[in-house]
Structures are given as structure tokens and as C-alpha cells.
């Protein structure tokens, strides 16, 4: 093993900025990163063993403890829960003889929970040894485990056949479904791969390209909505030895899965968008950060890049354009929602913990390796070739005043037809609910947990940068759902689990809020507890990044829009309740000593 690990490290030229890949490769051969490997990494990379552990322990899919031969990561997201996660978990626990969060005694199976894996339209889903399994039932679990015990290879275990579209290609061979249910400007098949590179780039200056992008008014689709043209302009202007273009394919906001579908069906569009960005910004380095959950697409995507190299759409003097050298490398993440935040993503690309950086400086000034870096979302980049082919005016003709173009939505939850819907900006929530066949709707979560939970009175509002902005996650809840106990709680647990913890407000306030929230759920709440929730949430606004700044949104938006649910749980005519249950707290010790104390009410 020692030889193998040394070989891996030297494959990456002992470069500690490639620690992510090194750890992936070590886990690939050894299952986990053991003491010996950590010691070798320390010696070869010149960082202390704790510095190695620091990175391993940050990411959900790395481990310094032995794992199972087969490792099952069962998705935690609210839609999984709504579609029977508990029964599926029970089945895994029973069939594999293992408790969630541990390895079975025989070392065969590891069973773990994991944050949203981008399969909300086909839940419950799990990643088993890197392979995606969707629409799980206890019955299916039994079959899977039986086959695995009989020594079948994980790759053979596809129970419904391939998921259609390019999921059926041998390089992907996955049961994941695209579920594209509404196509608009972006998802329509009217694009000839690499046409822009061969027909437009050579004839236009980088400045020309940037002005078309600016005129189109396209804003970032990753959530923050920053004007793309302006970002490119800043990136081009910034001085640096190299310039970098990064495609953000970390897609971690619970309930979004549209980047997964774009990468599956339209990778040429995404990669050509990166090439165009590279030309416009003057970049020579291209990186796509692919979340680990989408590893099943890696081989296929690398194949597309190979094809592009062979056509000289990547490489040196691209398409004969003298001095335009640009290539793309795909970096695999390792399980951390926070790495979707662009500066955390850059830290991760440099082989470190994914902790957001302080801004300023922004990535366009100092990004990857301190070079000027433009980070764009998958969907943003995929829109670019179409804008350049059809023109800025065409794009401006779509959408509403504040938001040009279309938005690819990921709709899931209580609707008949969960999946991908491309709509123009300015579409109402009511239309979105109707097109997905949602009935009896109590609430819809717009833009994922970091967005807003809204109810009926707001269904006339529109998705727009001037009304309800969204990165595309839409989760529907019908009137039977327990919004507070199930939904809000799930989202709060998500933020607590996914906070990097390096800034104090996000690390501490999220748990304080959750405790106060639980106090209300437990029937111990008083009226002032609701005010506490709102007032205390304000402290999170001074957090370093968007995660912390929005982490209270599940609570604040549900208090605002569903206050009656809280008020129903509050004790009437009680002004103060410490929430402390003396009897409950001393129960265990009473049982141990076999005595009943006399308790005075507090």
C-alpha cells in the first residue's frame, strides 16, 4: 500500500494544492485514509498530520476511519423524507445489519446519511459506492443488498434500466432520469456544438463578446444574480499572470437538480460557454468544480473534453486564434454544500478546507491561486453560446424587465410531475404550481432553504430579480405536511450540518435558534419565544458568507408567512417557561438510585 500511495502523491507532483484528488485516489485504492497514508502525506507534502486531517474531516465523503466494503449514503433531503425515506432506511439497516452512521460488524456495509444529492425528483435516492440509486423502496433495497451479498458488481445493479437520454450512454449507464417537462430557449435542441467557437470568436474581439453579454442583461443563475457581463469585464480588467474561468457545478442547494440535467444533456453548451468566457476574460485556465454526488458523470464529461481537444475547441491557439490557449480540468468535490459559495469553492480547488474567504478582494481580482477568476454557474455558462448565436435582443425579448431570459426550475415535492421546467422570468408561482400538477398546496419553498417559504397569499407573485429571485429550487408542500416539525426542522438541520463553522455567528446562532424552535415544538413555548426567533436571527446577517446570512430564513420566513402555526403551539396565558423539565432531567439518576425526589415546580 505504501508504494501505491507514494505513487499517487507523485502522480500529482507532490503538489499540496491537489490534495482533493490525492485523497480521492487514496480512498479509491484503500477505502479510507489511514494513519500510514496521513503520515506519508505529511512527509511528502510538508504539512503537519493535523493539517492533513483538517482537510479530511471537513468533507463528508473523506474518512480517516475504516468504512464498509460497500458504502451507502442515503439522502436526507425533505423530499426524500416525504417519499418514504424512513422505511428505506429501516430496510437498509435490517438487510445490512448496520445502524445509520456506522459500519456493520463484518465490515461489509457502511450506512450514512447525506445532504441533498440533487435527485429531488426521484427520491428516496442513495449513492452506493459512487453509483446513484433512485426511487428506492424497501423492496428494492432488499434486492440490492441480496445481489451485493451474492457478489454482484455495483455496476450491474440497475433495476429499471438506464434513466433515458444520455443517462443510457455506456460512459454514464445510470438509472437517473432527466425528467425534462418543459423546454424553453435553453433546453431546445437548436444548437450546433462549437459553432460559436468556429464562427464567431475569431471575428469578434473579447470586448465585443463582453458587450453582447452585457447587452443581454443576463444575470448569474447560481443564486446571487450578479450581472455576468460586468463580472467578465472586471475579470478582464484585473491584472494577473494567469486568468481563470470556473464553472460552478457544486449544485448543493437542497431541491435543485437542473445543473445535473444540463451537464447530462448539454455538456457541450456548458463547456463552450466556458471557452467563450475564457476568450472574453483572457483566461488560460478553465476549471469545472463537480460535486462528488455527480461523480457518475465524470468519465462522460471528461470524454466530451477529450473530443473538444481533438477538435481544437480546447488547447492551444483554439480554432486558429493565435494566442488563445485554454483548457478545462474537472475537479471533483467531496461533499460540502458550502463549496458552492464561490470563494469556498476556490479554497477547495486549492486543496484546502472549503471555508469562504473574506471579501474584498473578490475572486475577479484575486481568485484561484490569487489569479483573477471568473466563477459562473452551469446554467449561466450554458446560456452564453445561445446569446451569442441569436443576439442580445432575442434574449432581452424573453423574461421580464428586471430579468432577461429564461430560468430552468427544479420542481419537486407534492406535485404530480416533479422535474425540470424551463420558464421565462416573470412567471407566477401559481402557474408554476399548475404546470407541475400541484394540488392542495399549503406552501412552496422558493430558492431552497436559503430562500423563502411562502403560502397561498403570495402565489400571485413572480419569479424575478425584482420579486422572488431564485436559483431554481422549488419544493411544494401540500396541506397534510407538518411545515414546522418536518420542513423547517429539516432545513435548520441542513444549515447546522453544512456550516463550515469558521465564523462565530453561523456556527453558534444556528443551533441556538434551533433549540428555541424545538422548545416551541415541544409545547414549552411562550409568545416572546416567537419574537426571540426573529430578533436573534438578525445576528446571522453579519456572517461572512451567504450560508450564514440566510441560515435563519426557514425560521424567519415561516414565522412571517405561517405565524398561525407557531401561535397554535404557544402556551396560552403563560408568560414565562424556562423550557427546563426538572422531572425529565433527573429521571435517569432517580432510576439509578431507586428514589423519588420531591420536585418543586420551577
Amino acid at each position: 500500500m505504501k508504494e501505491k500511495i507514494l505513487e499517487i502523491i507523485s502522480n500529482y507532483k507532490k503538489d499540496k494544492t491537489r490534495l482533493m484528488d490525492i485523497l480521492h485516489d487514496i480512498q479509491g485504492v484503500a477505502g479510507y485514509v489511514d494513519e500510514e497514508a496521513i503520515e506519508l502525506l505529511h512527509k511528502e507534502l510538508g504539512i503537519s498530520t493535523s493539517e492533513v486531517r483538517e482537510v479530511i474531516s471537513f468533507y463528508h465523503f473523506y474518512s480517516s476511519e475504516p468504512k464498509g466494503k460497500v458504502n451507502i449514503y442515503l439522502n436526507d433531503s425533505i423530499t426524500a423524507v416525504m417519499h418514504g425515506r424512513e422505511a428505506v432506511l429501516e430496510a437498509f439497516e435490517k438487510e445490512c445489519d448496520v445502524k445509520e452512521g456506522s459500519v456493520s460488524e463484518d465490515g461489509e456495509f457502511g450506512l450514512y446519511h447525506t445532504s441533498c444529492i440533487g435527485m429531488n425528483d426521484q427520491e428516496p435516492a442513495a449513492i452506493i459506492n459512487g453509483k446513484m440509486f433512485t426511487r428506492l423502496t424497501p423492496y428494492r433495497v432488499k434486492e440490492i443488498v441480496k445481489d451485493l451479498k451474492n457478489g454482484k458488481d455495483i455496476k450491474e445493479l440497475i433495476y429499471e434500466g438506464d434513466g433515458g437520454g444520455r443517462n443510457a450512454l455506456p460512459e454514464i449507464h445510470s438509472m437517473v432520469c432527466n425528467n425534462i417537462r418543459r423546454r424553453g430557449a435553453l433546453l431546445t435542441h437548436d444548437y450546433t456544438p462549437f459553432d460559436v467557437t468556429s464562427n464567431i470568436l475569431g471575428k469578434s474581439s473579447p470586448e465585443d463578446i463582453i458587450s453582447v453579454v452585457e447587452e443581454s442583461n443576463i444575470r448569474g443563475r447560481g443564486g446571487a444574480g450578479f450581472p455576468t457581463g460586468m463580472k467578465w469585464k472586471f475579470g478582464r480588467k484585473a491584472k494577473g499572470e494567469h486568468h481563470v474561468v470556473i464553472c460552478n457545478a457544486d449544485e448543493g442547494e437542497p431541491g435543485t437538480f437542473k445543473d445535473r440535467v444540463l451537464l447530462t444533456e448539454f455538456p457541450e453548451l456548458v463547456f463552450e460557454g466556458m471557452v467563450i468566457a475564457g476568450y472574453a476574460v483572457g483566461a488560460d485556465i478553465g476549471l469545472l468544480y463537480l460535486r462528488y454526488e455527480y461523480k457518475y458523470l465524470l468519465k462522460y464529461l471528461n470524454g466530451v473534453l477529450e473530443e473538444m481537444r481533438s477538435k481544437n475547441v480546447l488547447g492551444n491557439n483554439i480554432n486558429g486564434i493565435e494566442g488563445f490557449n485554454f483548457d478545462i480540468r474537472i475537479q471533483l468535490g467531496a461533499g460540502a454544500y458550502i463549496c458552492g459559495e464561490e470563494s469556498a469553492l476556490i479554497e477547495s480547488l486549492e486543496g484546502k478546507r472549503g471555508e469562504p474567504r473574506d471579501k474584498p478582494p473578490f475572486p475577479v481580482e484575486k481568485g484561484y491561486m490569487n489569479y483573477p477568476t471568473v466563477v459562473n454557474n452551469v446554467e449561466t455558462l450554458a446560456s452564453i453560446p445561445k446569446i451569442l448565436t441569436k443576439g442580445a435582443d432575442w434574449f432581452l425579448g424573453l423574461g421580464d424587465k428586471a430579468s432577461s431570459g429564461t430560468k430552468v426550475l427544479s420542481i419537486s415535492g407534492d406535485c404530480n410531475y416533479p422535474g425540470i421546467y424551463e420558464v421565462e422570468w416573470g412567471t407566477t408561482i401559481k402557474d408554476i404550481l399548475d404546470m407541475s400538477g400541484a394540488q392542495n398546496v399549503q406552501a412552496i419553498q422558493v430558492a431552497g432553504p436559503s430562500g423563502a417559504l411562502i403560502g397561498e397569499k403570495d402565489f400571485g407573485r413572480t419569479i424575478s430579480y425584482s420579486d422572488l429571485p431564485t436559483g431554481g429550487s422549488m419544493i411544494v408542500f401540500n396541506k397534510q405536511r407538518d411545515i414546522l416539525r418536518d420542513v423547517v426542522m429539516n432545513f435548520m438541520n441542513f444549515f447546522i450540518e453544512e456550516s463550515c463553522g469558521s465564523c462565530s455567528t453561523c456556527r453558534n446562532m444556528t443551533t441556538v435558534l434551533k433549540e428555541r424552535f424545538v422548545k416551541i415544538l415541544d409545547g414549552k413555548g411562550v409568545a416572546s419565544d416567537i419574537d426571540d426567533l426573529l430578533n436573534w436571527s438578525d445576528v446571522l446577517k453579519v456572517s461572512r458568507c451567504g450560508l450564514g446570512q440566510t441560515a435563519a430564513n426557514p425560521i424567519t420566513t415561516s414565522v412571517t408567512n405561517f405565524r398561525h402555526l407557531y401561535e397554535n403551539l404557544i402556551q396560552k396565558d403563560v408568560e414565562f417557561d424556562s423550557g427546563f423539565d426538572l422531572e425529565e432531567s433527573v429521571k435517569e439518576s432517580c432510576a439509578a438510585v431507586g428514589r423519588q425526589p420531591i420536585l418543586h415546580n420551577m
Partner: protein, 231 residues
């Protein structure tokens, strides 16, 4: 081009040099902005959020933001002071900070900030987390009960080759600063002293000596934190 810039904090004019952070400039001009994770000489990482200010209406950390000409900064306002108090209270309730029994009492920046921002009883409930004490090094004790995860030890205590004695472990509410077992084993007295001195709280305590200076006569026993800066 002149290297001097001018901006305002709570209406008071600040004259600074280009390249200074807001905290550096403020302190040089006799305006106190509280800090906890910031440490002179090493790159800032706005971790504790104590130095939060408002620049042209937006929250920013003053330890990481370069001063710029014409900025209008709010610092000593009710809104911001309330926020700072909340941040301190959060640090208190998320750890186990029992000042009377702590070797660092009187020299502790968290305690001193608690006094300065008039924390009586935190408005948030205590969480009383179960934390470990790592006494494996012959020189120091790393007490997780008191750690505020400021990263000062991580940034300042290194070997000659640049390896870090202290590192993060895990993330989110499980985040801890751990001591490298091998380096902790080989730690010298000088490094141990430096680690203890650089720790703002009592999370890193030198073994074998203690309470040389009696409580009551220590730094913040004599004057509140920041009074050396305030004019």
C-alpha cells in the same frame, strides 16, 4: 499620488495610510473597534465577527476590509454594540467558560469584552457542551471547553518549516481546534509560552506554572479592554 487617505468613523475624521485595514487605521487614530480573532502580523480572517462595522450601510468586518478614501463608517452605535454583545454572549453559551477557575481570568479577552459590552447573563440559553481536554503534550493543556475557535494559534504557532501545531478538525457545530500530537509532544517551553500568550482565552494553558500573577492585578483587572486605544 499621495498615500494618505481620509474617511470617517461615527463622524470623526480618520487619517490613514493606503493599505491599512480599517481596524489598523481606527486604532492608530484612537478609535476603538473590538477584535478577538484578529492578531497583528498575520493575515486576518474575519472569524469572530466582533469587529463588524457598517460601511455605507453594509455590514463588513473591519479587520479584513482595507480603508478607503471617503468611507462613512458606523462603529459605536446602539445597533452595532448590541450585535457585538450578542456575539460575545453566543461565545459564552456555546462553550464552558467558568472565569473564577480559569488561569487566564483577568488576561482573557473574551471576559474583558464581556465586561466592556456589559454582559450580565447571556440572553441565550447555555448549551453546556461536552468537551475534551487534551493534556497529551508535556508542555501545554488544550482545553476545548474554553476554545473560541479564533484560529490565532493556528496562524501564529508554526515550526521552522511552516508546519502548524494547531489545526481545525470537523466543521460546523462540531468544529474544534486540535493540537498536532507529534508536534505537541516535541513542543519547547518558548513555543508553549507563545501559544498561551497568543490565545485570547484560557484554552491553551502552560503546564506546571500557574497563577504567578494573582487574579486582581492582571491586565484587564486594571483597565477595561480598549482603554489603551480610546482617546
Amino acid at each position: 499620488m499621495s498615500n494618505t487617505i481620509k474617511f470617517k468613523i461615527d463622524g470623526k475624521e480618520i487619517v490613514a495610510e493606503l493599505g491599512q485595514t480599517i481596524v489598523e487605521a481606527a486604532h492608530a487614530n484612537g478609535v476603538y473597534i473590538p477584535t478577538l480573532c484578529n492578531f497583528p502580523g498575520v493575515p486576518p480572517k474575519g472569524g469572530c465577527r466582533m469587529c463588524t462595522i457598517k460601511i455605507n450601510g453594509r455590514f463588513m468586518t473591519s479587520c479584513t476590509t482595507p480603508a478607503a478614501d471617503g468611507m462613512e463608517i458606523e462603529n459605536n452605535t446602539d445597533e452595532i454594540n448590541d450585535l457585538r454583545k450578542s456575539i460575545i454572549e453566543l461565545l459564552f453559551v456555546s462553550g464552558n467558560h467558568f472565569c473564577p477557575a480559569c488561569e487566564k481570568s483577568g488576561n482573557c479577552e473574551l471576559q474583558a469584552l464581556g465586561y466592556r459590552y456589559q454582559m450580565m447573563v447571556p440572553k441565550f440559553p447555555y448549551s453546556f457542551p461536552l468537551k475534551e481536554v487534551d493534556a497529551s503534550s508535556p508542555k501545554i493543556i488544550k482545553d476545548q471547553n474554553r476554545c473560541v475557535l479564533c484560529q490565532r494559534c493556528m496562524k501564529t504557532i508554526k515550526t521552522e518549516d511552516g508546519e502548524r501545531y494547531f489545526a481545525f478538525s470537523n466543521r460546523g457545530d462540531k468544529l474544534e481546534v486540535i493540537m498536532d500530537p507529534d508536534l505537541g509532544e516535541k513542543m519547547t517551553d518558548e513555543i508553549a509560552q507563545l501559544a498561551m500568550d497568543n490565545c485570547p482565552v484560557g484554552s491553551i494553558i502552560k503546564k506546571e506554572v500557574g497563577f504567578v500573577e494573582p487574579i486582581g492585578t492582571r491586565k484587564y483587572d486594571k483597565e477595561p479592554i480598549g482603554t489603551d486605544i480610546d482617546v
